[in-house]
Symmetry: C2
Subunit: 217 residues, 2 copies
C-alpha cells in the first residue's frame, strides 16, 4: 500500500511538472506574440490553453481518487491537498498567458505594446518566462533555494508593474486611451502570473520544511 | 462516526456562509466607497479583508482535519474538497472588494469614478452586491435555482464590463490617463468578483446534482 502510494505521489508530481512545462511554453509564446505583435503565435497560445485546463482537471481527478483510495493522513494528506491547489494556480497562470496573447490578437494589426513601454514589457515578459522555468525546476527537484529565486524575480516584476503606472500617469505619457488600457491590463496579467508562481513556490517550500502557509494566491 | 461527520459537514457549511456574509458586507462597502469616494469606508474594507483571509485559512484547516480523521469517500469526499475550493474563491472575492476599495482610497480626494461611467459602475456594483447576497443564500439553502440567478446576473456584469471598454475606447471619451486606468482596473475587479461567484455556484450545483464540473475559476 505504502509503495503504491509513493508511486502515485510521483505520478502527481510528474503531472505537475508536465503542466508547468506547458505553462512555460505558453508564457514564452504569449510574451513573444505580445512584444512582436505576432498574431499567429497568439492563436496557438489561446488554442493550447484548453490542453492546460484539461490536464489540470485530470490531475484533480487523480488527486481526489488518491484521497479516496489511500486515505492519507498528516504530511501525505497535505501533499495531495497541495497538489490540488498547485494545479489550480498553474491553470490560472495558463489563463494569464492566454489573456496576454488575446491582447495582442485583439489589437492586431496595430501594435499592442504602447510606445515608451516596450522595454518595460520586454523585461516583465522575460521575468515571467524565467519564473515559469524556475517553477518547473522547483516542482521537479523540490530544491527550495529555487523558491527564494522565484520570490526575488517576483519582486522585480512588482517593481516593473508599479513603473508602468508611473509612466502611464506621468506628464510625458502621450498614449491614446487604447494604449493606456492595454498597458494597464497587460501589466496586471504579467504581475498576476508571477504572483501565482510565488504562491506555488510557498506551498512546495512548506512541503519540504513543514511550515504550513495558508492559501494566499 | 457518521453522525459526527454530518455534524462536521454542517460546521463547514456554516463557516462558508459566515465567510460569504463577510464578503457581501465587504463588497457593499467597497462599491459604496468607490461610488461615493468615501475613504473612511474604504479603510474599513481594507482592514476587514484580513478577517476574511483568516476565516478562510481556519476553514481550510478544519477541512484538512476532517479529511484526516473521517477519511470520507465518494460524494462526502467531494463535498470536503469543494469546500476547500469554495473557500479559496471566497477569499479571492474579498481581495477584489479590497482592490476596489483601494482604488477609491488611492485617488482620494479626487473622485475615482470617471465621469461618464458613474452610472455603469453603480450598476456593476449593485449587481456584484446582489450576486454576493444570492451566493450566501445559495450556500445556506443549497437551492440550485439560485445558481441560475447568479449566472444570469454575471452575464449582465460581463455586458457592462464590455461596455466600459466601448466607452473608454470610443471617440467621445475625454478622460485623462488616470481615469482610463481606474476604469480598466475597476471594471476588471467587478467582473472577476462575479466570475468567482459563478465558479462557486457551479460547485454547489454539482454537489446537489452530481454533475462534477472541474475547476474553472
Amino acid at each position: 500500500m505504502r509503495e503504491v502510494f509513493q508511486q502515485e505521489l510521483r505520478e502527481v508530481q510528474d503531472r505537475l511538472v508536465e503542466i508547468s512545462t506547458l505553462v512555460t511554453s505558453s508564457i514564452e509564446r504569449a510574451t513573444e506574440s505580445f512584444n512582436e505583435s505576432n498574431v499567429s503565435l497568439a492563436e496557438t497560445v489561446i488554442a493550447d490553453d484548453d490542453k492546460i485546463d484539461e490536464l489540470a482537471a485530470e490531475l484533480d481527478e487523480l488527486a481526489i481518487n488518491i484521497l479516496a483510495r489511500q486515505q492519507p493522513v498528516a504530511r501525505d494528506l497535505r501533499i495531495v491537498v497541495s497538489a490540488l491547489r498547485i494545479s489550480a494556480s498553474l491553470e490560472r497562470m495558463g489563463d494569464m498567458s492566454e489573456h496576454i496573447a488575446q491582447l495582442s490578437r485583439y489589437r492586431f494589426p496595430e501594435k499592442v505594446v504602447p510606445k515608451g513601454l516596450r522595454g518595460t514589457f520586454r523585461e516583465m515578459g522575460a521575468l515571467d518566462v524565467e519564473i515559469a522555468r524556475k517553477l518547473t525546476e522547483l516542482l521537479r527537484t523540490e530544491d527550495t533555494r529555487i523558491a527564494e529565486d522565484i520570490r526575488n524575480e517576483d519582486d522585480k516584476v512588482d517593481a516593473l508593474h508599479l513603473s508602468v503606472f508611473d509612466k502611464v500617469l506621468g506628464e510625458t505619457w502621450k498614449g491614446a486611451a487604447a494604449d493606456t488600457v492595454d498597458a494597464t491590463l497587460a501589466s496586471r496579467y504579467h504581475e498576476r502570473f508571477a504572483d501565482h508562481a510565488v504562491s506555488i513556490a510557498k506551498k512546495v517550500q512548506y512541503l519540504a520544511t513543514g511550515d504550513w502557509i495558508p492559501q494566499d494566491a
